[in-house]
Symmetry: D3
Amino acid sequence: MPALTDVLAALDALWPPERAEQWDAVGTVCGDPDAQVGRVLFAVDPVQEVADEAVALGADLLITHHPLYLRGTTTVAASTFKGRVVHTLIKNDVALHVAHTNADRADPGVSDALAGALDLRPVRPLVPDPADPAGRQGLGRICELDRPETLGEFTERAAARLPATAQGIRASGDPDRTIRTVAVCGGSGDGLFAEARAAGVDAYLTADLRHHPASEAREHSDLALVDAAHWATEWPWTELAAAQLDEISDRHGWDLRTHVSRKVTDPWTAHAAAAAPFRVFAPDPASASPA
Amino acid sequence: MPALTDVLAALDALWPPERAEQWDAVGTVCGDPDAQVGRVLFAVDPVQEVADEAVALGADLLITHHPLYLRGTTTVAASTFKGRVVHTLIKNDVALHVAHTNADRADPGVSDALAGALDLRPVRPLVPDPADPAGRQGLGRICELDRPETLGEFTERAAARLPATAQGIRASGDPDRTIRTVAVCGGSGDGLFAEARAAGVDAYLTADLRHHPASEAREHSDLALVDAAHWATEWPWTELAAAQLDEISDRHGWDLRTHVSRKVTDPWTAHAAAAAPFRVFAPDPASASPA
Amino acid sequence: MPALTDVLAALDALWPPERAEQWDAVGTVCGDPDAQVGRVLFAVDPVQEVADEAVALGADLLITHHPLYLRGTTTVAASTFKGRVVHTLIKNDVALHVAHTNADRADPGVSDALAGALDLRPVRPLVPDPADPAGRQGLGRICELDRPETLGEFTERAAARLPATAQGIRASGDPDRTIRTVAVCGGSGDGLFAEARAAGVDAYLTADLRHHPASEAREHSDLALVDAAHWATEWPWTELAAAQLDEISDRHGWDLRTHVSRKVTDPWTAHAAAAAPFRVFAPDPASASPA
Amino acid sequence: MPALTDVLAALDALWPPERAEQWDAVGTVCGDPDAQVGRVLFAVDPVQEVADEAVALGADLLITHHPLYLRGTTTVAASTFKGRVVHTLIKNDVALHVAHTNADRADPGVSDALAGALDLRPVRPLVPDPADPAGRQGLGRICELDRPETLGEFTERAAARLPATAQGIRASGDPDRTIRTVAVCGGSGDGLFAEARAAGVDAYLTADLRHHPASEAREHSDLALVDAAHWATEWPWTELAAAQLDEISDRHGWDLRTHVSRKVTDPWTAHAAAAAPFRVFAPDPASASPA
Amino acid sequence: MPALTDVLAALDALWPPERAEQWDAVGTVCGDPDAQVGRVLFAVDPVQEVADEAVALGADLLITHHPLYLRGTTTVAASTFKGRVVHTLIKNDVALHVAHTNADRADPGVSDALAGALDLRPVRPLVPDPADPAGRQGLGRICELDRPETLGEFTERAAARLPATAQGIRASGDPDRTIRTVAVCGGSGDGLFAEARAAGVDAYLTADLRHHPASEAREHSDLALVDAAHWATEWPWTELAAAQLDEISDRHGWDLRTHVSRKVTDPWTAHAAAAAPFRVFAPDPASASPA
Amino acid sequence: MPALTDVLAALDALWPPERAEQWDAVGTVCGDPDAQVGRVLFAVDPVQEVADEAVALGADLLITHHPLYLRGTTTVAASTFKGRVVHTLIKNDVALHVAHTNADRADPGVSDALAGALDLRPVRPLVPDPADPAGRQGLGRICELDRPETLGEFTERAAARLPATAQGIRASGDPDRTIRTVAVCGGSGDGLFAEARAAGVDAYLTADLRHHPASEAREHSDLALVDAAHWATEWPWTELAAAQLDEISDRHGWDLRTHVSRKVTDPWTAHAAAAAPFRVFAPDPASASPA
C-alpha cells in the first residue's frame, strides 16, 4: 500500500494546486503523510454524512471537490459542524484532500465530466487558461450537440442524464428554439455570462443562478439558460476522478480500492410545482387595479 | 391631477429613502417633477416588457421594487438594455420610482405582504430596525401558523398561494416535521440564516438560495428551508403598495388610477423534474467502484 | 443620412475610447443607435444652455469634450440639472457623445488645437503615450515659438488669441524673461508641473491653477506659468473636431451639417482689477507692526 | 522675554491644535522650545522670501497660516526648496509655527478677518463646529451687508478692500442682482457649495475655484460666486492674529514686537484682459459651420 | 467528572472571550464538548512537546496562553507542525483551550501573576479597560516596590524570581538609579511605551523588545527598561490560572486534577556573554580612522 | 575639498537609492548640497549621542545606516528628540545621509561585513536581487565555515568577534550539533526564516528575534538560531563603508578624513543571568499540581 504522501503527489500531478484560484483553498485538510492508503472515497461535499460514509467504508482517504474550510479557521472544535467532521476523520484515520478550482481547470476537468454526462462534445474551454499553450485547460467548456434539438428537448436531456435531485432543472428561453452549441460550467457559473455570450453559443448550462444575474442576462441577449443543482453538475467529476486514480493505481501497482459516494448532498429534498395559472393572473388583462 | 413631486412626497412618507441600505439606490430614476400624474403602474422589475406595459397602459408613473441602476452608470444610451428602458420611459413621459430596501423595512412592508399571501400571522421583524421604538419595522418577519402543519403541507401551501412561476418551490428538511413558526424574507435572504436560527423558528422561507449557504445552514442546524422564486416573494408587495397609494389618493382627492403588473418577470420559463432514481444511484450499495 | 451607430464608429476611430484615462467616462451618454444623424453640434460643456442650443438648431447629435457624468449616477430624474439635460436631449431625439481624455491624447488632439490657436509649433507631447511608437500621441504639447518673445508679450498673445473670457489670463514670472519654448495643456494641467520642468521649457500654459500647486511650482523652479480659462483652452478643439468630422462626412457622402457652439460656458462673467497699491501695502516699508 | 514654549502655549490657547482637521499639520515645525522670543513675524505662506524677511527683521518666531509640510517628509535637505526654508530658519534661530484649519475654525478666525476686511457683518459660521455650544466657531462665515448692493458693486468692493493682487477678482452671476447676504470662506472653499446653498445666501466669496465645481454650482442654483486670490482672502487674518498676540503680550508684560509681512505671496504677478469680443464670437449667429 | 462544555463555561466566566482583542483568537481549538474532563494541564505554548506532555499525563484538557492558530488556517494536516499538534490532541482525546488577551486583561490576570512572581504590589492597570468601572481590569500593571532599590538590584530581582531561562534579563538605564515604581506587562509590551511614560513610573519590565522601539524609548525619556524572556513573563499566570480552576473544581465538587507544565518553551537554549571590551573598541579614543 | 553634492553622488553610486525597499527612507536628511566636506563620520544610529560626536569631531557629514525618519514627519521642532538631532546637525553644518536597505543589498553590503567580522566565507545572497545578473547583490548571505564546529563553538565565536554588547548572544538548538553552513543577515532578520530553511544551512544568525517567530521556526525545522544585538550585526558595515569612501577619496584626491563611531548604541546596558535551576522547576516531575 502506498503512503498518503505518494498518493497526494499523484493527485497534485493531476490537479496542480498552483492552478487553483487565488481565493481558493485546495490540498490536504487533515491526515498524516506517513499513513498507508488502501481505500479511497470520492465525493462532492465534505459534510458529516459523507465523513460517516468514509468511516463506514474503511476509507483511508476522502477526496472532495468542495473545500471544508474555504476561509481560514482558528478552531476545529467539535462544537462546530466542520470541526465535528475533522474530529470524525482524524479519530478514524481518514485523510481529507480537496481538488476544487484546480480540478475545474484541468484537462479533463469538472466541466468535461459534466459534458460527458450530458453526451455533449467539448470543443474548447469557455475561459481558456492563458498558461496552457494547447488551449485545453480552463473554466467551463463550449460544446456541440451531435444534432440540433429544441431547448425543451435539451432541458429534458439534462433532467434525464444528470444525477437526480429533488429540485430538477430550470430553463429560460423559448422552448422551441434550436440548440446547436452549449456552454457548460459545473458549479456556480453566474460570473461567465459575458464569456458565454461572446462565444456565441445557443444555451448556457450551469448552477445556482439567482434572479438578478439571470434576469439581466436574459434582458441582455437571447442566450438560453439552463440551471441544474450545483451538486448534480459536479458529481460526474467524482466518477471521472476515481477512474483517473484507478488508472494511476494500476500503473504503480498500488492496488487501491476507489469508491464514489452516491449520497445526494444537494440540500433540497422536495419540490412543489406552482398551481398554474395562479389566481391573480386572471385571464382578463383589462382588469388592472387590484381592488 | 397631482404633480409628480406631490406623489413622490407621499411615497417618501410611506417608504422613507433614508431607511434604505447604504448600498441601495432608491428614489426617482427618471421623470419631470412638474409632470401631472393620473395613472400609476406597480411592478417588481423595471425591465423592457414592464416599461412597454406602462406605455401601453398610458401610465405616468412606474413604481418598481428593484432599482434599474443599483450601481452608478455614466450612460443611458439605448444601445444598452437599461438605457433602452430609460429612453422608452422618457420619450413616453413615464416617470420611474424605486422603493427597495426602504420598502423591505417598512411597516407594512415587503415581508408583511409575503406573509399575507401565505396566510401567516406576522409577529415581529426578523431583524428589527434599531431606530423603530415600536419594534415593527425591519427586515423579514417572524410568523405563526394558525395551526401546525408538516413541512410537506407548508411547502404545498407556498406553491398554491404564491404567484405561480415555472420554477415552483424547493424545500429542505424532513417532510413530516411539524411547522409552527416560520421566518419569511422577500427576495434573497441568504444573509439572515443566523437570525432565523436565533429566532428559533421551525422553517425559513426566502428566495435565491445557493448550494453553499443552503448546505451549510442545513449542516448547522435542523432549520427547514423553503425557497421560492425571488419575484414571487416580492410580487405580493406590489398589490399592498397599490392599495396604500389608492388610500392616499382617496384622502387627497387625487383620483389616481393604480394598476399592478401581472407579467411574470421571473426569468425561468420551464422546469423539468429529474428522472428518479437516476441510473447511477443503483439499488446495490455494495457496488462501490464506478467500473 | 447615416445612422448614429455609423457616426459613432467614425468618432471612435478618431478618438479610441480605450485611450481614455481609467477614471474617465467617455462615449455615448444618450441616444438611439438606430437614429438617423443629419446635424451635429460640437461644444465643450454639456450644460443646459448647450442642450437647448442643440434642440434649437435641430441637431441629432451633440458632441462635447466634458462628460455629463464623470462619476456614475443611479438617477437621471429631471429634478437634477444633469437629469434635466438628459430629458431635454432624449425628448428631442438628440444623442450626446463625449470625447474627453481620449481626445486629449489624440493626434491631433486638444492641445494641438490650443497650440494652433496660439500660433505655436507643437514639437512633441508633454507626456508621450507609451503605446504610440510614433511618439505623437499623448497629453499636452511641447511647442516652439517662431521667434522669442518676453513673458509679457506671450501673455498678451494668449489674451488676444484665445476665445475671450471675462477672467482673462494670469501669468507668473518676470515679465521680461525670454520665452522660446512653451508647454501647453488644455484643461486642468496642475498634475504635469514635473513633466514641464523636465522638458526644460520656459513657460507652461494651462488652466485652473490653484494657489498651492502654483506657488510650489514657482518655489521649485523658475518655470513661468500662464493660466487661462479652462473653457478657453479647450474650445479650439471643437473647431478642429468639427473639421475632422466634416472631412469624414465628405468621404462617406454623409452630407452632415456640423456646427460649433459659440456659447461661452466659462462660469465667470465679470472681472475686477484690484486697486493698486492696496492701502495696507503702505509706501513706508519701515512700518512693520500693524498698530 | 518669554521662552518659545510660553508663546506656543498662548498660541495653542488661541487656536487649539486638536480643532484642526484630521488631515492637517499644524503646530511647531522647527525651533527650540527653550529659546527666547522677542520679535514675531506673521505671514500667510512659509516660502523662502518670507523666511528671508524673518531673518532680515531679526524675528525669533515666524507664524504662518499654511503648513510647510502638509504631508510628512523624511528629509529637510537644502536641496529641496522646503528644506532650504528649514535650513534658513534653524541656522538663524527662527522658529516656525503653523495655525491653519484650527485658525480657520476659531472665533475670531480667518473668515472673520476676511469679513472684516470686506466690511461685512458675520452672523454665524457657514459650517458650525458641533463641539461649540455657543455656535460661533466653525468654517466660513455667513454675513450680512449693511445695505443691499448689486453683485457688480459687491465685486468692486472686494477688489477695493482685499489686499491687491495681480489676478484681481472674478465673479459669476447677473451683475445687477441684489446682494443682501454673503457666505465667505478664506482659502479654497469649493467644498462648501452645498452649505452655501443651504444657507440661502445671495453670493459666496472664496478662492481657488476651478471650472468644474464653479460651473456645476452655477448650473445647480443661482448662487452668485465671487473668487479672489487665495492669499488675499487669508492675509487679513495675519493682522488679526498679530493684534491678538499683541494683546497677550501686553497682558503678560512680554514686550513682544509683532510684525505682519506685506509680501504678496500670491503666485500670479500679471493679468491680461481678453480682447472682447473674440473674433470667432462673430455677431452673426446664423454662421454655424467653422468652414 | 464534568463535561468539557461545563469546564469551558467556567473558564469563559474567568476570562470572557469578548474581552480579547479584535485580532486575537481565543477559545476552544479542538475537543468534543460532550467529553468528560478529569485532568487538566496548563502551559504557555501549545507546542508539540507540550501536547506530548498532556498525552503522557493523561490530560483531557490542555489550556494554553498562546493560540495555536492566531491567523486562520484551511488545513490541519499533520504535514505541518501545528497540524501535527492537532492530530496528537484529537487522536488522544485532549481538548485545547486558549485564554490569551482575555486573560491578559482579567483581574487577576497575566500581569498580576507576573507582579506576584516579582514580589511587586500592583496598584492599577497600565491600560485600564474602559468597560470596567472598578478600574481593575486592563493590560499591564503599574506596581510599587516595598522599598526603593537600584535598577541593578531590580534587574537581579527579576533574574532571581522569574522562571529561569537561558537568555536571562536585559536592562537599559543607569544601574544606580532608584526604582520606586514599575510598569509590568507580560509578553510583548513594546506597544505600551507611551502609557508607561505617561504613568510616570521609573522602569518598565516586559519582553521581546527590539532595537528600534527600545532605542527610541530610551531617546524619548529616561524610563528604564527591563526585558525578560516572553515565556518567563507569562509562565507565572499558568500557576495562578491552575489555582483558580482548582478553586472552581472544589466549589462544584468536580474533583479535577490540575497540572502546570514546567517545560521551558522559551526557544533560546544558550547564552554567551560578549568579550569585553571588544578589540575594535580600543582604549585610545583619539584613534578615529579605522586605518 | 569636495562639495557635499559630489560626495553624495559617489555614495549613490555605491548604494543606489532605487535599490532600497519601497517602505524605506534613504538619502540625505539634512545639509546643504553646496557645502564643503572635509571630515565624515560613519555610525549605525542617528541618535543625539552620535550627532554630538559628529559635532565634537568637526565632521561635515554623518552617514548612518538607520534612517532618522522612517515614516514622514511634519515637524523637526527641537521639542522632539529627532528634531533635536536635526537642530544640532543644521546649527553645526553637519549633513546627514542614510544608506539602509540599499546598503543591505549592495555587493559588498551589510551582511558581507557581518560575515567578515565572523570570519565566514560568503557564498551567495540569502535573497538574491532578481535585477542582478551576477547573483551577488541581495539580502543576507549564505556562508561557509572554514572547518565544521559545534553550535556551541559557533556561538562563542559570535560572542568573541562581534562588537561587545551587554546583551551578548543567544542561541537555540543542540549545542553539540555540527555547523558547516550559516545564513547571516544584519539587523532584524525574522522575515527570512523560510529562505534560510530553503537554503539548507545549519544555522541562521541575525538579530531582534522575538518569541513567536523564533519558537515557530524551531518547531518548523531543526535550523539552529543565533541572535546578536541588532547594532552589533550592523556595526561592521560602518568600517567597510568608511574604507570604501576612503578609497573613493583617494581616487578623486579629495583628502577626506573618515571616522567610525565606536559608541555602542545598542540600548541594553546590563545583563543578568537567571538563577539556574529556578525553584519551581523542581527535580520531582511527579509533583504536578502547584498546591
